[in-house]
Symmetry: C2
Subunit: 346 residues, 2 copies
């Protein structure tokens, strides 16, 4: 992946620098040798004074406060909702452009919800100050649907997710480790982040349950897909499940197209030629994407592409991506890169 325009950023604030997405953001900067002259690592009081390595330099983590955004050109927020709601407006007031990973602004009018390969063009001549990056489960689904939407149209989607604990943050990762180790040693370890044991256990509810029975996470997936794909009445049923894996969100995706798809070879080619999507699909040879393949990578993998014969225009797919990268930090960096590419061109 190239980020040719990111080096046009003179100063960038990273809010939530010590969190799991913040660290992934820095790791992508490091891996791609992207140098940003003034990089400000911001976090809550608890992390202040710790250091993180960026471009072979140790940077101190600073406390997020009212003055944090003075002279800052762009900010990436990966922070809890209360922090986001308080400090995004301050960053905007200070003149920064904000890319936000929270759900706070995603559905607001005037806030583009961007996956660059799908709707990055919305950033051309963009004059707003806040851009949202989508929910980590919505992103891989949107990526797999977009090429199908363009060619065949989409009538209805039934999605069931297999979401890793890293989607719930660093403490969730620690909880899965600690509980798993304890159980293998015949002991128990406390349940704090999740409402039930997560080790060797699937939890069929992510986020609070709403009055209609859907979870908060399922509602995000449905509403964000509609916004990203610009299909406000797209029929979507989502079921979001937390599984005991560290990294990678999988999705079992059942799609009813508007018209009959071509052969599976053509569909496979169509998906694989969409930027950011990679088809890995030779099930008879044991070849399909699992969490292991996806973790640390940039692509949205699509496997198990097959006709669903219970519909005239049905397709099934297994979709898998690194939830911290394309599902969060990588997509945010791509958003910034796209924005600065348009700015450079104009």
């Amino acid at each position: 992946m190239s980020f040719q325009s990111l080096e046009g950023i003179q100063s960038l604030a990273l809010v939530g620098a010590t969190g799991i997405v913040g660290r992934e953001f820095l790791s992508i900067l490091n891996d791609n040798r992207i140098k940003i002259p003034r990089l400000k690592l911001l976090a809550s009081e608890l992390s202040v004074g710790s250091t993180l390595e960026v471009a072979e330099t140790e940077l101190y983590v600073e406390e997020l406060n009212e003055a944090s955004f003075d002279g800052v050109e762009a900010a990436f927020f990966s922070a809890p909702a209360n922090v986001t709601r308080e400090y995004v407006p301050r960053a905007v007031e200070a003149g920064a452009i904000v890319v936000d990973d929270s759900s706070c602004f995603r559905l607001e009018r005037g806030v583009p919800l961007i996956i660059p390969e799908i709707n990055g063009a919305l950033l051309k001549d963009f004059e707003g100050r806040i851009i949202s990056t989508p929910n980590c489960a919505a992103t891989p689904i949107a990526m797999a649907l977009k090429p199908l939407q363009e060619r065949y149209g989409i009538r209805r989607v039934v999605a069931t997710t297999f979401q890793s604990v890293s989607g719930a943050g660093r403490k969730a990762v620690d909880e899965l480790s600690a509980q798993t180790a304890a159980l293998l040693n015949g002991k128990t370890s406390p349940t704090e982040v999740f409402p039930h044991r997560i080790a060797f256990n699937c939890l069929p509810l992510i986020g609070p349950a709403l009055d209609n029975g859907d979870s908060d996470e399922e509602t995000k997936v449905v509403k964000e897909l509609r916004k990203i794909l610009e299909l406000p009445s797209l029929l979507v049923s989502a079921t979001c499940v937390r599984v005991p894996t560290f990294c990678g969100h999988g999705v079992s995706l059942n799609v009813e197209l508007m018209k009959e798809p071509d052969t599976l070879d053509v569909v496979s080619e169509l998906l694989d030629s969409f930027a950011g999507v990679r088809v890995v699909d030779k099930p008879s040879g044991g070849i399909y994407a699992t969490n292991v393949e996806a973790s640390g990578g940039d692509d949205v993998f699509v496997s198990r592409i097959r006709r669903d014969y219970s519909l005239s225009n049905g397709l099934n797919m297994w979709v898998m991506t690194d939830n911290l990268r394309k599902g969060a930090a990588l997509n945010a960096l791509q958003i910034l890169d796209t924005l600065y590419t348009y700015r450079r061109m104009s």
Copy 2:
């Protein structure tokens, strides 16, 4: 659970006694203090000479051979396909009635595929010799669908499974343990049972892939559901995924009914009043079934019952059961009990 008629069996052979389902079968006999005068534990050469405790007595495991079924009244087979194909006919020749856990005979005409709560009545006046118990993923789905089928009719089902490693046998359980322990210690452990690492990883293919792209497991789910529910043209799309859990198969079930369902309270009551099904569904209080609740229990749990508003008559549910019990050994014992109840009555 009561097994009032099982004690009418004078002699029972258990083929695959040392396997994971065989052991669960014995554990249910023990827990329910069911005494069968002549119980024969049969296994492959490798296990011969080992002992298993049944009704406070140590029983020797005998080698399965041509003479194994002499004088045996009933046999439960939980064995690999080649063993099943060779020895079930011998058991039948010897005059035994066979309950088989494999997929070898499930779809054969004249072989009832039984979940007693659903179609146990097929065993009344049954004069055949082979009865099959369904696939461990098909069983919970059928149990959740049956009461809905009776009241509303079913048009189409989209099912995605979360299947535990115990469904693949004892070595699969050992592989998940060993790989998990190794990874937590920064080491690796071989991958032998599964085609890829299973620790902290989801594998979106169970069993071989067929020419149409479906897996063997998915095909079983579709065909067996149609037979069990006596709906030969039921529209079903299944996706079967192996997840890193030891026990319990979960299913994300999307159902299109023939007519509009009643309120969710009524649907919940309808499901909960079906024998063998238990509704556990207060998501706002964090109450839903996970592998932990299901493991070691007899019920098929249904949680997250909600309308799917992408359809006029749509419902979503999360279904979870112990794959070794209701998915295999318990259901087999219920089949025998049902059969002997009918025999006693006639």
